[in-house]
Symmetry: C2
């Protein structure tokens, strides 16, 4: 295994009614003037908004709201959040939602420390040097893992860019994960979240580091869990056992525990970001289209052993009488079928995306350099994968 | 999954030469007057002592030593450590060794806050109410997981008791895990450590909680890793890949990640503690004897499905043409054979332990109540397992 530093300080409060101690958790981190940030209003329909605001009110915690944070959260929301915080002298950020809301809040927390435009962090024009405002999370969607990790991904409509910003100081202080809060997530978003979780594991599993045996077995544990419960949760959205296992899988899939001791890839995510930056499609849906094509593209003699392990250990592919290449391909095919079963798209044309801007997206994808580590991808390789995905 | 709170704040610095930043880590936690605690002197033979003391000296960090901490660490060492700290006004504890040294240091850290005898914490006569001294670790043995967890187990020679004391505040602040530091661990101790790791996973895997699918798959990932690398590390003690995977497995086996969302058992550990409290045998060796007998004893119609999963998923037992009971038993047999392969004992009589004090040990084992959760065990059940283990 390669050298690494492990640190998972975010406190996760997991389970039914764990929200009840929310005021204590906020106060523990010095919060008494809160920015309550959320998305399109689903938390108002399912009662989470009422629960949070009554807990804040009962405990004398002042709050202001930032609503309307979109999927593929916009830098304009980040700017707006910073403005509200400064105007009202707020000292804590509570993200109530999924990855988009959390990612916007991380940008707000960092941007609050900085006099310039917060987009500079994403453009790598500046670095986070001061301690950001503390962020707490009430999670409503199993997907991105942002609730305990160090990343934030934000989009800019004007320049059509979607960029990541990572820093240890961006980790939320705590995250409340109540599986019941994911009962009301619609089927399509549940499926997109499941796809996102699988994609996160793929990015870490398909690694050039051959000696990280334990992290690979852990990655398989998470993938098997998601595959086991996906049909159950699609069938019965209120299956607590299924929702809870998938929720915890989503957190572990991207809290870095699968990354320790190895090099990771992330090229598929970078390619998808360019697509959703231009066409504003759902991240999970974009990944469902691109990942199987990435797999097909990078499968060669050198990478084949990894795909064989993937087929056997994750998909229980029967290898009897099959060539190694057939086994490897069957693992990829099973991945494709799994996303199909979830109702995810299998081609970009389903979003009415044509070939007109592929070249431009491939160009942007490699703007900071070639992608990936399992297999290095330059602009031409990215373009090939995009063409395969049409 | 059951409700839980996850928090893994200990910073792990994993890999070759990660010790070089040790002075920074100590200073980060306010340490400039250090108690350097270690065991029987192996760290003097393998160069770790020289490395640590030269780093401390070069960085102007004052230190006093506590040496001679034994396997099954004694409360007398804890008392001695507290005395040295008070006499020299020390403000940080550095544990250089395996689980015994770390456990003693946790007792010292807690005992320093308390005017009475530190054994009171283990006897449950008092509770930890003040912040203990910060503890840092330089790990030299893959085994107990104490380097990042909240437990301390200490023995008293006079009353022949070996007792656990657990508290969130006992977690070390950081742990340096350099796989090279485990190269010089002798075969027998390497094997005992591997047994201990497997036993920790068993205690959490064999759970009455049926819906914790993800933690079970993670437990299997860790067991498979240990089984995969045990022959390699026994064959070549300087196999970095094998040492590093086993070292990380030991940490994850008992940092609580396998416990989240489920009830755990721990009866075999409690039984073994009574044996090693009286006979001072190696903890790993005691577990190797008792665990397969515990498995045989608790296997019944109700627990059989778990043992079948264990046989199939961990030991790859071929189930074709076998009864469920045969499959379950084969998993237990494979466990026994694995410990045999490691050179671990298979009966207590190998330690010249006879039946004379079994009754007394069974009595003491249940002094705080019946044991276990996978299967509840009273005094008579414990006695049966001890008799099977003779």
């Amino acid at each position: 295994m390669l050298n690494f530093t492990m640190s998972l300080p975010t406190e996760v409060f997991f389970g039914r009614d764990m929200i009840n101690n929310l005021p204590d958790h906020i106060k523990k981190h010095g919060g008494n003037r809160v920015l309550l940030a959320y998305g399109g209003g689903s938390i108002k329909r399912n009662g989470i908004y009422d629960k949070i605001t009554s807990l804040l009110n009962q405990n004398g915690i002042f709050f202001k709201e930032l609503s309307g944070i979109k999927p593929n959260p916009r830098i304009s929301s980040v700017r707006e959040g910073i403005r509200i915080i400064r105007e009202n002298d707020l000292n804590f950020i509570l993200a109530a939602g999924g990855g988009s809301v959390i990612d916007a809040c991380k940008g707000i927390a960092a941007g609050w420390t900085y006099d310039g435009d917060p987009w500079d962090f994403y453009l790598r024009k500046t670095k986070l040097e001061k301690k950001p405002l503390p962020v707490g999370v009430v999670l409503t969607l199993a997907a991105t893992g942002s609730e305990t990790n160090w990343g934030s991904i934000v989009s800019d409509d004007i320049t059509e860019r979607k960029l990541p910003f990572r820093h240890e100081l961006l980790r939320p202080k705590f995250a409340v994960l109540d599986p019941v809060y994911t009962f009301s997530v619609p089927k399509y978003h549940t499926a997109a979240g499941i796809t996102d979780i699988m994609a996160h594991v793929f990015e870490q599993y398909f690694s050039p580091t051959k000696e990280a045996y334990l992290p690979d077995r852990m990655a398989e544990a998470i993938m098997k869990t998601v595959i086991h419960y996906a049909p159950k949760v699609m069938e019965n959205p209120e299956d607590y056992e299924a929702r809870s296992n998938i929720l915890f899988a989503g957190t572990l899939a991207l809290n870095q525990i699968l990354t320790y001791g190895k090099i990771t890839d992330w090229s598929t995510h970078m390619i998808e970001h360019e697509v959703s930056a231009v066409y504003d499609i759902s991240h999970g849906a974009g990944l469902a289209v691109i990942f199987p094509n990435w797999m097909k593209y990078v499968l060669d003699e050198e990478t084949q052993p990894k795909f064989i392990g993937f087929a056997k250990n994750v998909w229980d592919v029967n290898t009897t009488g099959k060539s190694s290449l057939d086994v490897a391909n069957e693992g990829i095919e099973r991945t494709r079928e799994f996303f199909d079963f979830l109702g995810m798209p299998s081609s970009l044309s389903e979003f009415k995306i044509d070939s007109s801007r592929l070249e431009e997206m491939a160009e942007k994808a490699v703007i900071f350099g070639d992608l990936g580590n399992f297999k290095r991808l330059g602009k031409n390789e990215v373009l090939q994968i995009l063409k395969m995905s049409l």
